[in-house]
Subunit: 351 residues, 2 copies
Amino acid sequence: MVVHGARGRSGRRPTLEEVAARAGVGRGTVSRVINGSPRVSEATRAAVEAAVAELGYVPNTAARALAANRTDAIALVVPEPETRFFAEPYFSDMLKGVGAALSDTEMQLLLIFAGSDRERRRLAQYLAAHRVDGVLLVSVHADDPLPDLLSQLEIPAVISGRRSVDETLPSVDSDNYGGGRAAVEHLLARGCRTITHIAGRLDVFGAQRRVDGYRDALRDAGREVDEELIITGDFTEEGGRRAMKELLARRPDLDAVFAGSDVMAAGARQVLREAGRRTPDDVALVGYDDSAIARHMDPPLTSVRQPIEDMGRAMLELLLDEIADRRPAVSRGLEKRQLVLPAMLVERDSS
Amino acid sequence: MVVHGARGRSGRRPTLEEVAARAGVGRGTVSRVINGSPRVSEATRAAVEAAVAELGYVPNTAARALAANRTDAIALVVPEPETRFFAEPYFSDMLKGVGAALSDTEMQLLLIFAGSDRERRRLAQYLAAHRVDGVLLVSVHADDPLPDLLSQLEIPAVISGRRSVDETLPSVDSDNYGGGRAAVEHLLARGCRTITHIAGRLDVFGAQRRVDGYRDALRDAGREVDEELIITGDFTEEGGRRAMKELLARRPDLDAVFAGSDVMAAGARQVLREAGRRTPDDVALVGYDDSAIARHMDPPLTSVRQPIEDMGRAMLELLLDEIADRRPAVSRGLEKRQLVLPAMLVERDSS
DNA sequence: AGGTACTGTGGGAGCGCTCCCACAAGTGAT
DNA sequence: ATCACTTGTGGGAGCGCTCCCACAGTACCT
């Protein structure tokens, strides 16, 4: 935490020019050293570095941004109110992953909430001013205009999850299909006969893929898929309750529930208890997300975990590539710009 | 979310110069309009604004920062690991307050974690580069070198809480003394005879003030202050447990506990239960912070609430003043640079 | 000896603003 | 009519960098 350099109380910071004079070299050479260009002799480099240390030189970001037309900053945009951001571990895990990957770079991360209309307008203004080199977009709904704005402004962006099969933006998703399959295969292995599914909002692509996984797992096990056993919730606890009641009414003989989120599983659990069904003895229960709720439920909930931190890391890496690639106007194409990371079943006592 | 302007696919953004040409005025005049100077005639202003709209002009932040030597950004520095940031509602409330106050301005808020050594070095670098106009410092310990670095770099800063009675930095604190008093007065009014206190770490100034409030409330009620009834915890649950055990050993006849934080109160509660003491019948319990824990305890915990969101708002306002005041080199002195907001007792069933 | 290539270096031009001085035009007192 | 302000405006200078062209020096061919 010590500030080096002989700089007096003047408050004026040394400039490149002054470092150059001190080191007895030209401005360009100092710039090269600062930016790690290989085209500098060892001796010169050492001299410049000494001058930098003596003067306590720190580059002026604004000048650099102006001259080089880049900001060395990227934004993590959360199109949600702050409340949700703090409530859901998803975001903090994501941030952790991004932050870890970021610490190897000189990039600065900005956190931007765009929950309200007002905030969104602000964001649009912000992006139009090109104040960041790239954008990480988490939790985007299918009809969000943000991605279009981004490509209109030609700002590199990476999205978490996909909006559809043919997502155009570079994206990092987890294997929702595989996660759904794993949940159902686990229930099948446990000997469950009538496996129901409370799906999430189907305009969320990942939720749809989980349903696909559910279907295929049953089909591959030689079971008929009964559409009556699938019901759509809305990712909320109340939605989980409603869905569970309906399922119990439709099929009193059900012996397993695969919920598309832990929160919905928690709602379902309440209804099951009220109905006198024991977990896991009468009805096995599996959730999705492996959130804190899952661990704290009674009994602890079996759930599918997404590698969110890894996803964050991967998103950042993709974005940095994307930013670097904007130099030559070549290399379009979707090679490797869509990443899918594996999901994993975490077995606990509810199944 | 619509981008106005006829700007083609070139990607080049219009400059001040181009706006000036379009509006048939000089560069200076456009600058004046953009920056809201009053020294512009109505007609000219309208013409410029039209040109700005037509071209979809957005000022280049980097150029402005370079020329004007300001960044229009401030940082909220959290000298804690991210985990704590997400775990404690203190930070999210603070952020909410700051964010609210910020939305009236053109300022950009940066969130910076400085929990690890590595992050701190990064931060030092960042500040040395003067990449922000000011800093909001939350949760600072008495021996933290950060405030000194800030004043060395002559960066305006506002601190949450005070490090001592004669805090030099502008600060916003809550009335910890009054909060402590209120808690004890409440217990006295309930008829408690032997009121104990589990204090927080005494190197945290606020914790000390709560103890002062505790003492004075008893004294003013004509009670002797028995130092045996005060014990120091460390703000953790485990610390609360240890302190409670010790207090029970010292004074089995105690009938009230005022804990310096909700978390410590939770620890104390466990020990009380194990000892067979009922709350509030045998022992009344009061916490501090009014955090989520307080509401979820059984019985719900009476606690002292600090207006954290308001504190955030106030901090930002102080900081903006501070930044504005850096123009004339006058106006030293501590007038109004130390703000103390009232704390409030929230009565629940634990007392 | 001349050519060709590469390496390392200096410094001009320019990024898009703000600041400020100069000055025209208008207003009112002398 | 003259002087002294005031108001509105134009544009030069300069903020501290990066980019790139020019060029000196060295090395290795013909």
